[in-house]
């Protein structure tokens, strides 16, 4: 069975949405997959919302532009409004309830929550917020080996930040342990 995961990550600029997508894409390369990372690079990058489409596949990737996605990772309200309807029936929506006033309502998809902001603050490292989310995602969708994710992280972080790998790894674990399905 060929694996193909079409994923949208969306939130505020500065939350690490694009870099989380980049780490996932690099992890895919480490696992010998085909990958595409397509950012929104419009005026929204200059403040406001940011989103990225990541496709990881065993086969050559066709369209980088999606009408529907297998998974949406949603980190702010605007993104919830925009991307909840885009999840395929039976697909996954993962979100951080922090700052969300209208929770997901669809019953034909699997909804998961991760309190990533709170958990990252507990680690006294708010910057690894996106890695907590990444961990939660990898728990729900174990498409990549953790070893490859760590290697992907090494590839996408400049070497001067490699001392931060252990705390990032910890954040991934915390995410994996704390993600919950919302029924």
């Amino acid at each position: 069975m060929n694996m193909k995961e079409e994923l949208i990550i969306a939130g505020f600029g500065g939350q690490g949405v694009l870099s989380m997508g980049k780490i996932l894409a690099y992890s895919g390369i480490m696992q010998d997959k085909e990958v595409t990372w397509m950012p929104s690079y419009g005026p929204e990058m200059r403040g406001g919302t940011a989103n990225v489409t990541v496709i990881i596949s065993d086969k050559r990737i066709s369209s980088p532009i999606l009408q529907w996605c297998d998974t949406a990772i949603v980190l702010n309200q605007q993104s919830m409004d925009k991307f909840e309807p885009m999840v395929k029936k039976g697909g996954v929506l993962l979100y951080d309830p922090n700052g969300i006033s209208r929770h997901p309502t669809r019953k034909d998809i699997h909804v998961y929550s991760i309190h990533a902001v709170d958990l990252a603050n507990k680690l006294e490292m708010s910057k690894v917020f996106n890695m907590v989310v990444l961990g939660a995602y990898l728990k729900v969708k174990p498409i990549l080996e953790k070893e490859n994710v760590i290697n992907g992280l090494k590839k996408s972080l400049p070497e001067r930040y490699h001392n931060m790998i252990p705390i990032n790894e910890k954040a991934i674990d915390v995410g994996m342990q704390n993600v919950k399905e919302v029924k």
Binding site: Y26, Y41, G42, S62, S63, P64, Q67
Partner: protein, 360 residues
């Protein structure tokens, strides 16, 4: 095994320029292609290969720096996006007239005017039909992946020197900004001045030696009969290019009853449309022109007997569709679907447009 990196299309252009032995890059920043020069500045090739990277004061200046470099037989290139390319068109015409090799990369954004920074394909006519003045053509390559952004830099330089002509890579904001796996090829070393004199000494201005005539490079010839001779020579060259350099890719065309024609990022989107159509039992195929000039007319014509309909899919108001219709010459209905101004269609949107136009 070659190293595999995750890179943006724009970054791949820059890495390829260094590794294919470019002598100089001259450019001026503009979204969505600024990463080309940014990456070159980060890589600092002047310390390794000796390649010059220079931010000019304008696009007009960049293209004329290319003219100067190319006169000396150097491998020179620039990159820009739509409004910047418009400024360069005068220089491109001069280089075509003076038969100078160079690479110009256009990462198209929505127009006209300053337009928007989102992807579009509205510069097809400009690239393929002229852009600047006079009867000239440039070879136009349309990459559809980050790997092709990388590979076509090498191909473009080879073609530019083989035919002594400007070559354009016609990309867009989507291919420029997205990241994919890119495999770096074996590096090609820059030529030494001695090697350039030996290879291109018959035309390049490499310093006059006592034993031969000096070379003069110019696009000016005030005598009409001489100018006509030059034009005839150029047209003969373009004919040779039409005969030898057509490149295209087909997807599921062998048994196709319907065919989409699309290039660059549109072609990527249409690949998914073809998958959707096939899943519904519709025999659809995709023909992707890789060279926009020379246009793959014969490639299209070979499929006409089996086709019930075709649709050209572009991020513009319908430009390449004219070349498709010229190739088809009325034998098969040719429809068009497009979006403009930086808006992109999804694979399903293309499928719906197709179903509507052919009543399926």
């Amino acid at each position: 095994m070659a190293e595999k990196l995750l890179k943006k299309g724009n970054e791949a252009i820059a890495l390829a320029a260094i590794r294919y032995g470019a002598d100089g890059y001259f450019g001026y920043p503009i979204t969505p292609q600024s990463e080309v020069m940014e990456t070159l500045m980060e890589e600092m090739p002047w310390e390794t290969t000796g390649m010059v990277v220079l931010q000019a004061e304008s696009e007009t200046s960049s293209i004329n720096m290319l003219y100067g470099g190319a006169c000396c037989g150097k491998k020179v290139m620039t990159s820009s996006s739509s409004p910047g390319i418009s400024l360069m068109c005068e220089g491109i015409s001069y280089m075509a007239g003076a038969e100078l090799p160079c690479l110009v990369v256009n990462v198209i954004r929505g127009g006209p005017g300053l337009g928007t920074i989102q992807p579009a394909q509205g510069d097809y006519f400009q690239a393929v039909k002229g852009g600047g003045h006079g009867d000239y053509k440039v070879i136009v390559l349309a990459p559809a992946s980050v790997q092709e952004m990388y590979d076509f830099v090498g191909l473009a330089f080879d073609l530019a020197f083989k035919y002594r002509t400007p070559v354009m890579i016609l990309s867009d904001g989507a291919i420029g900004q997205m990241m994919e796996k890119v495999e770096l090829r074996e590096p090609v070393r820059r030529l030494t001045d001695q090697e350039i004199a030996e290879k291109y000494g018959n035309w390049a201005t490499v310093g006059k030696q006592p034993h031969r005539h000096g070379n003069i490079i110019s696009s000016l010839s005030l005598e009409a009969s001489e100018m006509e001779e030059i034009n005839l020579r150029l047209q003969a060259k373009y004919q040779t290019i039409r005969e030898n350099e057509v490149r295209y890719e087909t997807l599921l065309c062998d048994d196709a009853e319907y065919m989409l024609v699309a290039f660059g990022s549109s072609a990527r989107i249409c690949e998914s449309t073809v998958e959707t159509a096939r899943a519904k039992g519709i025999k659809m195929g995709l023909l992707r022109p890789i060279t926009l000039f020379p246009f793959p007319e014969k490639a299209i014509q070979q499929f006409l007997p089996q086709l019930k309909g075709m649709m050209s899919v572009e991020l513009n108001s319908g430009q390449m569709v004219e070349d498709v219709r010229l190739a088809v010459n009325g034998k098969v209905p040719v429809e068009f679907y497009g979006r403009m101004g930086g808006s992109i269609f999804s694979p399903e949107e293309v499928f719906n447009a197709f179903s509507e136009k052919f009543n399926l």
